[in-house]
Subunit: 181 residues, 4 copies
DNA sequence: TATGAATGAGTATTCATTCAT
DNA sequence: CATGAATGAATACTCATTCAT
């Protein structure tokens, strides 16, 4: 988290945790395995935070469920800022194996979101458009705001503030609505 | 571009360019300096693609100018996919010095965009909201879509298609407009 | 026996025997001590197989006694091929301490055999010649044939066949007897 | 040569030769490669010392040619005692790859010698017998005497003395000829 | 300008050994 | 007697960098 994965030696790690060099390899086969474990664990928590939207009548309104999802992700980002930064900023491009892990996660996420968008379009909740691009735009917006939230220390926002702003962004974009004449 | 910065040795580089090892150091003080030069050059081109929106009456409508900006960026992403991927995916988290360079660029960009948003809000082009968060959301959306455009080879979109989708996203978000009763 | 001494870790050993790592050190002070014990035990069995030739009138003819000695060694080599291979092929050059053990054993053997040759020469059983060299030649021939017998699996010979061939070698060499004119 | 291959670190090697650690890897891909190169080179020299026996009438008598072969091998053993010791004593059992190299060399040598014995038997120069075992006995005798010659420093023999003794061994064995009645 | 042989600091990894339980 | 978690010294190997030619 401090020096980045490459610049951090196994010596640094065991030095910090006050364990012997060999002990590290008792728990991780590799230096990379430590990071992989971190990433896996964090992906797991992210997956748990995302819940499918229940469209049955007795369920909460879809927008409320969407908001809950976003708020859970915000909480995660604000609660684990360092992990968030590692995942979104450091890990990409580090290593072929880790990259594969990322690709796999995002591919699954994209498929899931594209299907969700399709469903949303069918029931009139989501506007029409190129779903693949819409998903990319949406994921990008979320990644960046979570990274900002996790990194920004001087003007922190609450999870609620961030969630509100995301929802406004998703529902209205950035531009002002053209006044109907 | 092929193996990533860390996994690429100076040997690999000079081998590819058919130069002697020492020659590299005649042109770059460092291994990192090569990447820094690449990054600098690309930042330069990005900066040139972004032009301030001219609000004077004789200028083109602001939305058209915004569209032109986005299209120039799209062209860049589609024209230099490898550099784009390096910049957006590989470089972050690689190295303290390069990170500083990135931070500096994005900080300047954010300030510029926040001021633009403020101006936009004043003249009614941009909706109200937390400008810092809006900028983060917007930058994130752009980064991701450019990265996708640069990496995605199986279902490529044209610069126009991407630009259209970005503009719709910025002007209306993702959700359907609630029907006025 | 499978991977060689160096490539075999204490982990491999205790894993195979289903004992805990610490238990090994309850019985052997060292990793090397295990091999040393193996070597010692095998040297012991070799020593038991070699019996001094009794020249008294009531004893069996010397050549028969020699044959019995060789046959006992053959039986050992064929009965413990893995140990034989370790002793003759793997152990030499492994480790200073084990080398010393080997040197000691062979030095004693050489002295014993040189004395035996001397006695043999005196009573006309052994031809004249440089006894030290003769012993070396004889020991080498035996080592190699026992190693071959222990390793060769595709065309195995019986102890009797090998013993016969050794005796012919010791009594006539390899070349045909020059015809007396 | 001093501490054995395993106990000798690359540091020891470069320290002795006064070269930097990296320089070693400029010339050898591996620590093992150094030993492999040594072994290869020595095998080459051994192969050159062994010349096929020319049975044509104008050639020297076969026994003289055999003697020349043995003497060349003796010269090699006495001239490169350290290499000889490494090859015959240290290398076997060290490493799977080197073992394969040894096996290959000896397999070829055995085939060559068995064919030579067969030829020798046909023309009445070599006595009858199990050729595979005869070759093993002969090779073993040579290995040991060359190793002894290379290692023994306190009572050194000349190449001629050793060659003489080998020839006597090959032509008459060790035992005295039984007196014809 | 260009070369490429030499450098040596730096690092991941292994594995024999110990010792508290 | 037995365990196995913890240890840390030891070592092969890499690679960015230098510099004499």
């Amino acid at each position: 988290m401090e020096r980045g994965y490459v610049a951090t030696s196994v010596d640094d790690i065991v030095g910090r945790v006050q364990v012997a060099r060999g002990t590290f390899y008792l728990y991780f086969p590799d230096k990379r395995a430590l990071l992989a474990a971190l990433v896996d664990g964090f992906f797991e928590r992210i997956s748990l935070a995302i819940r499918s939207i229940d469209l049955s009548p007795q369920a909460a309104p879809p927008l409320v469920q969407l908001r809950d999802n976003l708020e859970r992700l915000c909480d995660l980002a604000l609660g684990e800022p360092k992990l968030m930064k590692i995942l979104l900023y450091d890990v990409p491009g580090l290593d072929a194996e880790l990259d594969a892990k990322l690709r796999q996660f995002y591919a699954a996420l994209r498929i899931y979101l594209e299907e969700s968008l399709e469903e949303g379009q069918r029931i009139g909740l989501v506007r029409s458009g190129d779903r693949a691009l819409m998903v990319a735009l949406g994921i990008g917006a979320l990644k960046e705001i979570f990274l900002t939230a996790a990194s920004d220390t001087n003007a922190p926002r609450t999870a609620t503030e961030i969630t509100d702003e995301i929802l406004r962004f998703f529902s209205s974009g950035l531009l002002a609505r053209a006044e109907p004449e």
